[in-house]
Amino acid sequence: MIIELKDVDYIYNPGTPFEKKALDKINLQVEEGEFIGLIGHTGSGKSTLVQHLNGLMKPTKGSIIIDGEDLSSKDTKMKSVRQKVGLVFQYPEHQLFEETIYKDIAFGPKNLGLSDEEVDKRVRDAMELVGLEFEELKERSPFELSGGQKRRVAIAGVIAMKPKVLILDEPTAGLDPKGRDDILDEIRKIYDKENITIILVSHSMEDIARLVNRIFVMHKGKVALDGPTREVFSKTDELEEMGLGVPQITKFMKAFKGRGNKVKDDVLTIEEAKEEILNYLRSKKDA
């Protein structure tokens, strides 16, 4: 088990009129190699939760164990936790600061105290993983790049630390459809190649349906649902009650089935739906 949370509570501004319980008795277990989608309404506690996973925030109550290390223990080195759990914030391009792309990506590995050769290797690998041309871009300023490219640099900066768990907080927010697809493809590629655990926070049910194999749904500071993608997305009513939804195509198939067509309604992607409808039409024709 790489991540384990036991009864984690977090309260903002305790003892003031602005007191707010952001996390309420969170219990979670994540196995190595899982690809998890974290969804929830704005203010449901997603961002607070992910910041707990690398020790940026400390729980008011409860314990967090990352790769066998208890974060509340004094012997745990925060640096090693932050190396293990890489966190890419929302709009990560807003944290770029170096003169060159190379230096910016090297910031994390250098903080880990690695040798120059190792840093160099990691920068190359990270740039390749996110689809940035090393020779062409390494000496350029990150501020000259387009939005999507800047975001890649920022993601590479975290990947270069070789985390065991990669957390991405809405990595596609504010990108155009092409930029979105590219980034998501690269995340998929990183997952396949690097064999790491990924937690993807997103508002797009389509993105989640396409990529992850398990979903956590946060609602009012609690984990409302936790299960395999297909299972969670079969609970349309519950999700809609929480102000969330299911992928459009899943909704469509449900409605299609409701009209008396004998199809499966737990499809997640357009490809699956296409297959299912074609099969159905063929079987109808044969009958």
Partner: protein
């Protein structure tokens, strides 16, 4: 750490203090500050404390909140206290090597520290009970007579509104960038002063870039809504003195005049 800064924060409420015309409150605070500097004796401090306590209880402000606002300035208060304590000449009370505490020094240091505490709490009462918009409206109106001699009162007020408006935004942003860099192994808490200053680069560069970007966006947004400065601009809610404003202003003027006069009586 950054969340502890409560200076300039507004604490919403419906009390009479909240409802007073901002101009009255600004004038009272000016009188308050002036009288603090006229006071040379501990006895008038009783009235100052009564005034602060009275406003706090009428406005229903949580005392904890006000104490929290003092915390970031504790350092300055302590330094003032220490300097006054050791540097005032007079009748020696205690001698600790080169450090000498005198009777006058003790009196002076307590007096100065209290003056600072009153200064901070008194002025924060203004911002705690007045929304930033009302505050700048008040300043603009108070300064408007000077626009005849070329003082750009509207522009000054607008600049203040914008500055106040962006304090929380920038604090939030600082917090976010700090966390993002800490997630990449940056260390803002250890090391000597030189390496600490150097470690701030990853924080300051993005912060400035984002601040300029925001300023640019705001300028565009204002222009898109045809903002062109103060000339001929009318407002939705005109400030207007009502009976209670006159009453409070008169009462408070007499009160502070009395406090100021203690300097000449004692």
């Amino acid at each position: 750490m950054l969340k502890d800064i409560t200076i300039g924060q507004y604490f919403p409420g419906t009390s009479i203090v909240h409802k007073l015309d901002p101009r009255v409150k600004i004038i009272i605070v000016a009188l308050f500050i002036a009288s603090l500097f006229f006071v040379t004796n501990f006895i008038p401090y009783i009235f100052i404390v009564a005034f602060i306590g009275g406003v706090i209880s009428i406005a229903k402000l949580p005392v904890k909140f006000i104490i929290k606002g003092l915390k970031p300035l504790m350092f300055i208060i302590l330094i003032t206290f220490a300097i006054n304590l050791f540097m005032t000449k007079g009748e020696v009370l205690v001698e600790l090597g080169p450090l000498v505490i005198t009777k006058e020094g003790l009196r002076q240091s307590v007096f100065m520290a209290l003056r600072l505490v009153f200064l901070i709490t008194g002025t924060s009462l203004l911002t705690l009970t007045t929304s930033p918009i009302a505050l700048t409206d008040g300043i603009e109106r108070l300064l408007s007579p000077f626009s005849r001699i070329g003082l750009p009162s509207h522009e000054l007020a607008m600049m203040m509104t914008i500055a106040l408006r962006f304090i929380p935004t920038l604090l939030e942003e600082t917090d976010k960038i700090m966390k993002a860099q800490m997630a990449r192994g940056a260390d803002f808490e250890s090391g000597n002063i030189l390496s600490r200053a150097k470690n701030l680069v990853p924080l300051l560069v993005p912060l400035f870039i984002n601040a300029f970007r925001r300023a640019d966006e705001l300028a565009t947004a204002m222009e898109a809504r045809c903002y062109r400065g103060g000339d001929g601009r009318t407002r939705l809610n005109e400030l207007k003195f009502v009976g209670r404003d006159y009453a409070v202003l008169t009462g408070m003027t007499i009160f502070f005049a009395a406090i100021i006069s203690t300097r000449y009586i004692w």
